[in-house]
């Protein structure tokens, strides 16, 4: 099992979250869905990791497992989620979040150490409780604050996340705020008990484009201020390029390519990543239609044979239908699971249109560096 450890980011920073071989299935009326099929993922202190993939690829489920928020029909078949933290006595400790009883997980980890921002701010706040109360809730739970102190801190947080007139907003109900404001409140709630890790599940998908950018900047700003480690779950590569240090590309319940943000954006190796990048809108795309990856992700009610992506891959090899590709290492930080990287495989280059696009993007990026 040591092989899994090698995969990852040899970063100078300490590993804070280490997901090993996670395997989860769901019991549904239609049968068992094998949603997560052996996921390995690391997060280091102060860094940002983005998990990208189409809907249904398992990115949210992985993070819900970290939060202990899996639905009741989910079964964790194997794996560990190791979380390393400094406990009350100032000593370093590591726990497997999957093994903790629900009660202990909620009491000592959720909110206090690992917090989450959800996708849709319109539905993620309790409509019958003022936002002030909702923000103070985790302070009472985890920081044992009295009412005065909690209120002062809640107002501080509201200002931190950029809500003007915090005193007035404190007494508002969620329906009195716009979507962008509500997402700021959700972020304030997530930050309220000083977590180490912030998990953002598509934090901007439900918002207007102009507000998206501001929310992302806000999260980055706070990350720097508070030394947070952040996990983004997204299908929007624009978001990834903006915020991530490392990128995990997920497909059909597996991570198919990992690398730092430059490697994924400029030297992607997996045909699926090529597809994702080609499908990203770009101002200078001259094609009439936006590219999209043909077909749809496999139905995980049936265990895929060989490479799950083969059916949609224009570069599929004969071996793809027989065996699942292992992760091939390309650089100390870059790995991809495709048989195309096997020494015996024919050399396949990125599609020329994508090469041209990435060159443009690189030029664009250098302007800001």
């Amino acid at each position: 099992m040591s092989e899994a450890k090698v995969v990852g980011n040899p970063s100078a920073n300490k590993k804070i979250l280490d997901i090993k071989n996670l395997d989860i299935s769901f019991q549904t009326n239609a049968g068992t869905i094998h949603a997560i099929r052996g996921v390995n993922l690391d997060l280091c202190k102060g860094e940002t990791v983005a998990i990208v993939g189409e809907s249904g690829s398992g990115k949210s489920v992985t993070m819900k497992a970290v939060m202990g928020l899996l639905d009741s029909n989910a079964t964790v078949n194997s794996g560990e989620i190791l979380y390393t933290y400094t406990d009350e006595k100032g000593q370093e400790a590591t726990v497997d979040l999957l093994k903790l009883p629900k009660k202990q997980l909620r009491q000592n980890f959720n909110g206090q150490r690992i917090a989450m921002v959800f996708q849709d701010p319109m539905t993620s706040l309790d409509p019958t409780m003022t936002i002030g109360k909702q923000i103070m809730e985790s302070m009472f739970l985890h920081l044992q604050m009295d009412k005065e102190a909690a209120k002062a801190r809640a107002l501080e947080l509201l200002e931190l996340v950029g809500i003007p007139d915090a005193e007035k907003r404190f007494k508002n109900y969620p329906h009195q705020l716009s979507g962008g404001m509500r997402q700021r409140v959700v972020i304030a709630i997530a930050l309220s008990a000083n977590p180490d890790i912030l998990i953002c599940d598509e934090p901007t998908t439900a918002l207007d484009v102009t507000i998206q950018a501001r929310i992302l900047e806000l999260i980055m700003e706070i990350q720097q201020k508070m030394g947070l480690s952040v996990v983004y779950i997204t299908h929007d590569l624009g978001v990834v390029a903006k915020v991530a240090d490392y990128v995990d590309v997920m497909y059909a319940g597996k991570i198919v390519e990992v690398g730092n943000v430059n490697e994924i954006f400029f030297e992607p190796k997996h045909p699926y990543t090529w597809g994702l990048l080609s499908a990203m809108p770009d101002l200078e795309t001259d094609d009439d239609r936006l590219y999209s990856i043909p077909g749809s992700p496999p139905n995980l009610l049936r265990e895929p044979k060989g490479d799950a992506f083969a059916a949609r891959n224009q570069f599929a090899l004969a071996i793809d239908e027989k065996a699942e590709p292992p992760l091939f290492q390309i650089s100390p930080t870059h790995w991809a699971a495709t048989w195309l990287l096997h020494p015996d495989a024919p050399k396949v280059e990125m599609p020329p249109e994508l090469v041209a696009r990435l060159a443009r993007a690189r030029k664009e990026a250098e302007k800001y560096l």
Partner: protein, 316 residues
Amino acid sequence: MTKYILKRVGMALLTLLIITFLLFLLVRIMPGNPFPSERMSADQIANKRAEMGLDNPILVQFVDYIRKLLLEGDFGNGTSLYYGVPINTVLSSCMSNSFRIGGLAILIGTALGLILGITAALHKGKFLDGFCTVLSIIGVCVPSYVFLIFLQYYFSFKIPFFPYFFDAKRFLFSSIIPSLSLSLFTLSTIARFTRNEMVEVMDSDYVRLAESKGLYGNSLVRRHVLRNALIPIVTVLAPLIVDLLTGALVVEKIYGINGIGKLMVDAITGEGIDYNYVLALGILYSTLYIGIMLVVDILYGILDPRIRVQGKAGDA
């Protein structure tokens, strides 16, 4: 909020007025003899008509009727022999019986329904949940009078423990069978509704967020689930209350309870009862119906901050 309440009250009053007028019109334009069970000569009838103001224009009659009703609480007299006493005295004694039995049924039904629904939701998919489902299916599929017939047959006839008929002197004791059979529909409706609401709320994003904050178990249910799940229950409660306060028709008939339900049955079947009663009962039922709907509407507004607190969204 005040504006909201005033608007609702205004609408309700207007609706009630329109319905009352329509009822009045329908009953007064009825062809035939308004004094069905009395033998009178043509002269006598003409005199009686004049005396009752039946020859005035309909609008004048209506205003007259409403004025009497509002100022003196007077529904006029019944015209037939048997029921020819002031209607309001009959109504008030009937109402007190009906409301007491109906009220007891609501109390039993709501309390047990809530308990059952909440427990079922918290044990979703387990035995208790299945039990709740089966019970609520039975309660919805079998009319209350069938329960009454069974309870009466087994516990008043086979085992003569409870009285076979209602006895106003032993009010509480003889209310048990009718109240129980009436409460089953309320119980099952509320249990089913509560359970589904709770399950839905527990599946919501905001409960996910609360869990991710670190809330769990009872405090999670108390702080975020219950209030959100119970507010909508107020809306199903309204028609149930109306049904119970007024709709215990067959139950009252079978169990020999002198209530407005029985009066209504007599009105529908035309057993010696006259148009004035139909009119009075129509007004009473409509008033109760609209009144309870109104109260629930306002209550809902008070409970749900989305209606109570109006506010425009600020920009992000």
